[in-house]
């Protein structure tokens, strides 16, 4: 009995250690963001005199509210577009048999493995051709390369699980594929759409390389680029307080979303990977 107790205690200690390691950096970012002025340079584990000065400053020094709005607009548009395209593709992949289905599905999976720089010069050309440089549309367009493959993949695995009887009954009643997908499957897939949409949202919200390359002015930047490019009076004097405040602002909503939907997110992440 005693050894069992020791084992549980040991495991719990390990458990706490891991949890501390995972959570500490974000905790420290919050603490740093609450330290105003020169207090930021005192490396202590809690703020002596917490204040919101850094949060005010980051909004004044640059169009950070605009950056957040940009990120929101891009991420939402990417979610809607990729889900819209993926639902119909997933119906074809998950519920029909045609020649080359598996090959096509694996090719699409292959696209999600593309290094983003491998398409950078080709995308630059397209973005210039359509006059989309320094325009958020260029980001919405280019983000399809990484959201579309996995939304198709995950939606396909959810689509396969829907019972065939429902579809048969609908066909008996004279419903065509369009009606089946939009009227019958879509409501049934609502939870799957939330999961997949959330994953696409997070991916788009966090993207950096395309956003850095296809935007130029501060007003068009998304949040990750804005944070990466915050500079101070000189190269060696980064305004760490502002950077930490900005970091906390953009991370809190994400963490909230993730915690609320954690079960579904894990299901979506593993559906994409384990069943592949």
């Amino acid at each position: 009995m005693n050894s069992r107790l020791a084992k549980t205690a040991g495991l719990t200690a390990l458990w706490l250690l891991v949890a501390c390691f995972l959570l500490f950096p974000f905790y420290y970012a919050v603490v740093s963001s609450l330290r105003a002025g020169s207090e930021i340079f005192e490396a202590s584990l809690w703020p002596a005199d917490p204040g919101l000065a850094n949060y005010r400053q980051v909004m004044i020094d640059q169009p950070f509210a605009r950056n957040i709005l940009n990120s929101l607009m891009v991420a939402c548009a990417v979610v809607v577009l990729s889900l819209g395209l993926a639902v119909f593709a997933a119906y074809a992949f998950g519920r029909t048999r045609f020649r080359g289905r598996r090959l096509l599905l694996y090719t699409i999976l292959g696209v999600s493995m593309f290094p983003q720089v491998a398409v950078l010069s080709g995308l630059f050309e397209i973005v210039r051709l359509f006059g989309l440089y320094n325009n958020l549309l260029s980001l919405i367009f280019s983000y399809m390369i990484f959201t579309l493959p996995f939304t198709v993949w995950v939606m396909t695995s959810f689509m396969r699980e829907l019972p065939v009887e429902i579809e048969e009954a609908a066909i008996m009643d004279g419903a065509g594929p369009w009606t089946i997908v939009t009227r019958i499957f879509l409501p049934l897939l609502a939870p799957a759409l939330v999961t997949t949409g959330l994953l696409a949202f997070i991916a788009a919200w966090n993207e950096f390389l395309f956003a850095l390359s296809f935007t130029l002015t501060n007003e068009q930047r998304t949040v990750p680029v804005a944070i990466a490019l915050i500079t101070g009076a000189s190269q060696f004097e980064l305004p760490w307080g502002n950077i930490m405040a900005a970091s906390v602002i953009v991370t809190v909503p994400l963490i909230a979303l993730v915690l609320v939907f954690q079960r579904r997110l894990v299901a979506g992440l593993t559906a994409g990977a384990v069943k592949g």
Partner: protein
């Protein structure tokens, strides 16, 4: 086998119609730009004017002229970036796999608050990479960073350490941040696999008095191998194209530069689309090669699973 049922026929007709929009977008955003990148890699195009350029063959890759070799394959900076990328990918993915399995095993043990732990695991994954890079850069700051302060307070170091100062230490720091950020992802995938394992096996092993470590290597590991293999390939390909973490933490410092950072620098900062495209295509080929080797190596495993 039998003639197609009405269901099959109705589905079959619409399949391609439903696929077309998605395929069109992917062709436009992936296939075409990739083709153009490979095309540009054979030219001397510049970013200033993408429409006028000369074909120069494989000159951006490898060329011999006037007693000197040219091209990325002889560029010491590209070779250094290749080495950095391989080191980063190999070390970070190995660490993430081992630690990920360990964390999954701890979380899988029936302790109170397992749900809380899973929530904690999602936090590093949810923080944008740029943000985690900045937070860690601040924590690792040589003068004001909490890491140096803690080490100094514990009497482990005599003076401040320049963690990101551009040496092996900088690469180690970047790897540590990546491990922090993505180990939970591996752990979640392994955890999902662990939870599908039948309990009876473990009961039997316990009754027979087999040591837990042996149970892990002879029962658990073979059973979670397929899920682990998927997690590793995802991580490996992700690590090989690493860009944001390195770019934000150490910029274009040669000692930590990865192939993605090199390619973007040539392409955007130096405006040399030909050379940058060659570097990008090189990275694409290397990643494709790694994928093929990995799948070939795993093939016996997959066949065993189907039987």
């Amino acid at each position: 086998m039998s003639a197609a049922s009405p269901l099959e026929r109705s589905r079959g007709r619409s399949a391609w119609l439903f696929l077309a929009p998605m395929l069109l977008v992917l062709a436009l955003v992936a296939a075409w730009p990739l083709g153009r990148t490979i095309w540009f890699s054979l030219t001397n195009a510049t970013l200033v004017d993408l429409s006028s350029y000369d074909m120069i063959g494989l000159g951006n890759y490898l060329a011999y002229e006037d007693g000197r070799w040219y091209g990325i394959f002889t560029d010491p900076q590209w070779l250094r970036a290749l080495w950095n990328t391989l080191v980063f990918a190999a070390v970070s993915v190995s660490l993430e796999t081992v630690l990920g399995v360990m964390i999954a095993l701890i979380v899988n043990a029936n302790l109170p608050g397992r749900g809380l732990m899973r929530a904690a695991m999602l936090v590093p994954w949810a923080i944008p990479t740029v943000v985690s890079a900045k937070i860690w850069a601040w924590m690792l700051n040589d003068q004001f960073g909490i890491v140096n302060a803690m080490l100094f307070g514990a009497g482990l170091v005599e003076g401040p350490i320049a963690w990101l100062g551009g040496s092996d230490l900088a690469m180690a720091s970047i790897i540590a941040v990546d491990v922090w950020k993505t180990t939970p992802f591996v752990a979640l995938l392994v955890l999902a696999a662990l939870q599908t394992l039948p309990r009876e096996i473990y009961e039997a092993a316990r009754v027979d008095g087999i040591h837990p470590v042996r149970v892990f290597f002879q029962v658990t590991l073979p059973l979670i191998k397929p899920a682990l293999a998927v997690a590793v390939i995802f991580r490996l390909l992700d690590a090989m194209r690493m860009f944001d973490l390195v770019y934000v933490m150490t910029g274009s410092n040669e000692e930590t530069m990865t192939l993605s950072v090199f390619a973007r620098q040539a392409l955007v900062s130096f405006q040399d689309v030909g050379y940058g495209s060659a570097a990008s295509s090189g990275l694409f080929l290397i990643i494709a090669l790694v994928t093929v080797i990995y799948i070939m190596a795993l093939k016996p495993l997959g066949e065993g699973r189907q039987s």
